[in-house]
Amino acid sequence: MEIKDIYCKQTGDHCKYIKHSSGLDIYVCEMNGFSTTEALFGTKYGSINTMFKTKNDKQYTVVPEGIAHFLEHKLFENEDCDAFALYAQTGANANAYTSFDRTCYLFSCSDNYIKSLEILLDFVQKPYFTKETVDKEQGIIGQEIQMCNDNPGWKVLFNMLQGMYHNHPVRIDIAGTIESIAQIDADLLYKCYNTFYNLHNMVLVIAGNVKTDEVLEVADRLLKPCENQELETVFEEEPYEVVKHDVIEHLPVGSPIFNIGIKCRPENGNARIKAEMECMIALNVLADPSTPLYKKMMDDGLINSTFCVEAFTGDGFFSLIFSGESESPERVREYIVNEIESAKINGLDKKMFNTIKKSTYGMMVRISNNPEAVASNLISAYMSGVEPYQSIKILSEMTYDDVQKCLIERFDTNNMTMSVIK
């Protein structure tokens, strides 16, 4: 077992990294003065991981869309009881979520954290699926899919992703479709579980009112060592170009809502974090509420305060999104394109670059102010394949020229998709 202290030079924050003998990576952040303990046990398995093989497989296995999320639901149910019933005995607030690239099981508590940690490590390592329990869950997840279909903010994003990506599974709803989840059975769930819920593909993050030696005592007792299966996940080849430039759907909404996305070439690990940070700075130098573009769109009645920007990235996908509400999304797109092209020629505003960089640093300090946020940052770093505090280090080293170069290389205004719900 290897234990390493990791420090953030910029903020003085610190955590411990443990490479546990079971194969699991563990991050512990002891935070003096906080009552809450926040723990996440996560696997690098999300909705996009539908094609994979291990060292024992000759061929890639392809599984139905939505299976990672389905597995998350089912894992809460062990042979003799439900994990929620176990947590009820400690008072912890427990939950789980599946996103594009990860599944995480979490709890938050202000007492009995060791008992809650035992429950977490135990139930995630004990799958139990039967035909009856799988059939029952199909009804519940079917309802969840219907609920997402009624959420225009969700629909506008997936419509954009479908207009942007030809093959990459990021284009499919995390929960799958009613049709795809109907193909899921207990055997498939076991296959995915045994592949992705291998401790070499997982992480435990725990922050707040916690002691490292207590965490390790529980980990030593409950983690079941396993062999590294050298898991490989792959995606079908994805063309650079978007599928189409416009997607429109009609649903009950107040003002029409839009997502305008630029499709970029994907990156991995440190290169992805660096590119993502540079893009975020560039997006804010172009369109933060202090910018001329934002003011002009506001003065012309094109946007309201819901307007925002985002770098949306993961394994095999990378896009930049401008979103908000507008009666004239086409004009918003026109303004954005003009601003990007003008900044490519004339350069981004240097003063604005410095201010946005400073403000981003402040935002990073502000959001690391409680155990939940700290745990979330630690797991995001792991899932991106980088060390904790890497984002703030990259930010501190970032130059104006890096961001200008990023703008020229990545903000391809010919490769955009606009999705509108009205």
Partner: protein, 420 residues
């Protein structure tokens, strides 16, 4: 150890400080509390929205954001909400503590100056707000009223409030109606703002890692100069039970139906009713979750929330149309189980642990500190969380049965898909 103190700095104006060295940020929040009335809700909400996006020095959102970005991304937030029959208009500023400034700048005093300018020197002249921030805020305000329908779960609860609280102040949205908002002018919003400064009960909070005497001195000086005639507010205003259950049905282009039940209670004991709510529907081992969702697979979510100020419980769920009747029956059946005493020791123990867990976590964010002490203030009963936990721990099964017996169905709202 955190240190809490509150003092009156002017007529109807309190200043609370919560000093907790674990925080990296300072937060100053000013909460104006005034009666929630249909004719003033939009004016008040828009006025506080304007002061949150501009002042006489930084005349629009663009200039203000630029300055806040320079101050390491300090942020101003406006929050408009309702509690009981009152409207809460809140403006706050958060910033990193001076020790994290890279060039030793004094962030704390700069952000205080901005906030004081927003409140005492808004972008206004000749008795009206300037057109630019007014127009921006008005569009934003109208758009947010229109956007209520985007979140179907919240929208269903808002519609249920309107029906369950019909004839009471709390039937109104804290944002007011679209028609009232459209009628607001730069003059009427400014007039409303002057009235807020004069008459609203005002609670100011400072949460940070260390005491800052300059902040306290400046806030006290500024607020004590106001001409004041504070209104009397009454937060506890139980909503009367309707003679007959009111049923509302709405059709929208949706794939999942929503149902919200409002039940009224005559129990005045907050702790007992919150305990009932926790056993019934506030956790993943509650009666509603286990029976309605898990055992009967009737819905994706089914949860309860208790509004102590109005003595009203709301239960909401997302369901298929064919399950509406059965779901209502099963929800009422679970309440009846509690009335009949079918509450196990295990259920009581789980609910108590869950309540303790959330109360012990108060103080891990400035938001939870402010909510806790603000609620204590308006109840005229500021206690620490340990005392509250002891109150919950002393509740017996018989107390819960008696409290549950006071729940009576008042309103049922159903959202269905469009009729063929």
């Amino acid at each position: 150890m955190p240190v809490y103190s509150r003092k009156n700095i002017a007529d109807g104006i309190g200043y609370t400080t919560i000093i907790d060295p674990k925080f990296k940020t300072n937060k100053i929040q000013v909460m104006f509390i005034t009666e929630l009335k249909k004719e003033t809700a939009s004016h008040n909400a828009m006025a506080v929205g304007i002061i949150g996006t501009s002042n006489s020095r930084y005349k629009n959102l663009s200039q203000l954001t630029d300055k806040l970005n320079e101050l390491y991304g300090a942020s101003i937030n406006v929050d408009i909400s309702k509690q009981a029959d009152e409207q809460i208009l809140s403006i706050s500023i958060s910033s990193i503590h001076n020790q994290y400034a890279l060039e030793s700048e004094d962030i704390s005093n700069s952000v205080l100056e901005i906030l004081m300018d927003c409140i005492f020197s808004p972008n206004a002249s000749n008795g009206k707000f300037s057109e630019e921030p007014f127009n921006f805020r008005k569009k934003d305000h109208l758009d947010s009223i229109d956007a209520e329908i985007n979140n179907k779960r919240n929208y269903a609860v808002i519609q249920t409030h309107k029906e369950a609280y019909k004839g009471e102040n709390s039937e109104n949205s804290a944002y007011g109606t679209k028609e009232d908002a459209e009628a607001v002018t730069p003059e009427s919003a400014f007039e409303a703002y002057q009235k807020i400064l004069k008459t609203a009960q005002t609670e100011i909070f400072f949460v940070g890692p260390e005491k800052d005497d300059i902040i306290e001195k400046i806030i006290t000086e500024k607020f004590s100069k106001l001409e004041r005639m504070p209104e009397n507010l009454n937060f506890i205003s139980p909503s009367p039970l309707k003679k007959e259950v009111s049923r509302v049905e709405e059709h929208l282009d949706v794939k999942q139906c929503k149902m919200v039940l409002a039940l009224k209670s005559s129990c005045q004991d907050e702790y007992k009713m919150k305990f009932v709510n926790t056993v019934l529907g506030a956790t993943a081992v509650s009666k509603l979750f286990i029976n309605v969702r898990e055992k009967k697979s009737l819905c994706y979510y089914c949860a309860s929330a208790y509004n102590f100020w109005k003595q009203t419980m709301f239960i909401d769920c997302g369901i298929e149309e064919s399950n509406i009747e059965e779901t209502e029956k099963e929800i009422l059946n679970q309440i009846n189980e509690m009335k009949c005493g079918n509450i196990t020791d295990e259920e009581m123990n789980h609910a108590l642990l869950s309540i303790k867990n959330s109360l012990n976590g108060v103080g891990d964010t400035s938001f939870s500190y402010i909510s806790w002490y603000f609620n204590g203030f308006i109840k005229n009963n500021v206690i620490d969380t340990e005392t509250a936990i002891n109150k919950y721990a002393s509740i017996t099964k018989q107390d819960l049965i008696e409290a549950a017996k006071t729940l009576e169905l008042d309103t049922v709202y159903v959202m269905k898909g469009e009729e063929a």
